[in-house]
Subunit: 260 residues, 2 copies
DNA sequence: TAAACTGGTTACCATTATAGTAACTAAAGT
DNA sequence: ACTTTAGTTACTATAATGGTAACCAGTTTA
């Protein structure tokens, strides 16, 4: 093992990328001060990074207000990243098929480091819905999070459990490590994890892991979600657990080779 | 004027972004060596930058082949950049309206530094079509390029003309600076520029600049394209020049305030 | 089977870039 | 006119990067 690779990580690049990530549909414009405060960068660094993006055309600075927006190069890069990400091409048809057959809300997330990254989502029509962040570190209180945790090697699992906040969100939220371990063991047995209103009031879900080949390392998860208005968790599980596990297996097939 | 801002430009960030830009639909995977060669980076730098992206989840390294692909975080960033780029929300309806009314191929490009960046395109149905890069430095042989050049301040114009290659692509390609200046003067008079098979055989186009307010600096251009199979350039101009100029004016209205 | 090769990874350190402080400027508010 | 605020620039100790070279693990070649 080398000396933990601190030499081969470009901090400046990471900081710049974090700035780009601030801009989205809901936050289309930022002032330099806002950026510096949000990311805890000092003004000079923020200025240098932002200025770089402005010169390259990724950000655009309004000459009057000095506020920043995405520039045309960001649009080009966005297209490249979106259409260059091949995994979705493999995932989408599998999910679409189940979605259209069962009219059910499906989320596919990929696991990276300590985060779940949403890469595809289909919603049921005519039901309540919710909006979640594209990137989430909440593993202990979501079905997908628990599906991944359950199939992680013990060492990594313990490391991640330590990093979870265990905020008591709702009545059913698991706040005890022992209880979580039991819950994960159950998931391991059954092949899928549950969310019984542990994260959002009225929201229930089942999720199965997407496992890499040949390592069986969890690469992500696929979840079906519903509400207590439409299903009991038991009924929902009864009805869809097999479909879920089958879909997870097929997603594992197409994601094979991208282990690690 | 400060000392040309070399202190406030983060080279590492630029290099990293150039790596991300290599990945698209047509080039979804790269080896480290390919990246280093393509961008003229030494291996260590390329390795450090790539490793940063891998750790952050923007790239994914196949453990066997070591080849790199986009990772899930790139997908998230791609979405943010695409939907956070507001300009398109303003441009699209205006272009769509003309497109559906006249069934004509329309391209909107924004000008940055020395490049034309394509941000929106609608094509006619049932005609030959062509595929162009999203970012182009060819200004002397395209209608949009000449539309921008024609309305640039003299100083910037001369700087850019020096940087053009004037490669003799086709019979009609302008390769003489004097001839180009005459052509631009004509465009300035009429308010729009022409492309008479100067870039692609059989391709004709007319383009008008998108001008910033209040500076009248060209922010980009909108072009209508057709082929010699469908129109003569004279007939095409006769039929559409007014529609084009009207659209350009309306695009200039919605792009106002983003001057510079 | 060994030798050569290839592509990737790591060590090391001179060179260069960055973070942080502080000074400065321009615009907005009082 | 004074104060405040946000952005920009100057300066320099500290930290990151680039470049060379060594190293390693697979592959190909002899």
């Amino acid at each position: 093992m080398p000396k933990e690779n601190k030499d081969y990580f470009a901090k400046t690049l990471e900081k710049g990328i974090r700035i780009l990530n601030l801009f989205d549909e809901n936050h289309p414009n930022w002032s330099l001060t806002e950026i510096a405060e949000q990311l805890k960068f000092n003004m000079t660094s923020a200025y240098r990074l932002v200025n770089t993006f402005v010169e390259l055309g990724y950000l655009k600075k309004d000459h009057q207000s000095k506020r920043l927006r995405l520039g045309p190069m960001s649009f080009v890069l966005g297209n490249r990243l979106l259409y260059g990400f091949e995994t979705n091409k493999l995932i989408e048809p599998l999910v679409d098929e189940i979605h259209s057959r069962h009219n059910i809300s499906i989320d596919v997330t990929l696991f990276h480091s300590r985060q779940l990254v949403k890469v595809y989502r289909r919603e049921t029509s005519n039901t309540l819905t919710y909006r979640q962040d594209a990137v989430s570190e909440l593993l202990y209180c979501t079905a997908s999070g628990k599906a991944v945790l359950a199939f992680l090697p013990a060492e990594k699992l313990n490391e991640l459990i330590k990093s979870q906040s265990f905020t008591h969100r709702l009545e059913n939220t698991i706040t005890d490590v022992k209880v979580l371990h039991d819950d994960l063991e159950r998931a391991r047995q059954k092949g899928y994890a549950l969310n019984n209103e542990e994260y959002i009031n009225g929201l229930i879900a089942i999720a199965a892991p997407i496992l890499g080949r040949p390592t069986k390392y969890p690469l992500g998860a696929v979840s079906f979600t519903s509400t207590t208005l439409d299903h009991t968790l038991a009924g929902f599980t009864e009805q869809y657990a097999d479909v879920l596990c089958d879909l997870a297996k097929r997603l594992s097939d197409v994601c094979r080779g991208s282990d690690g």
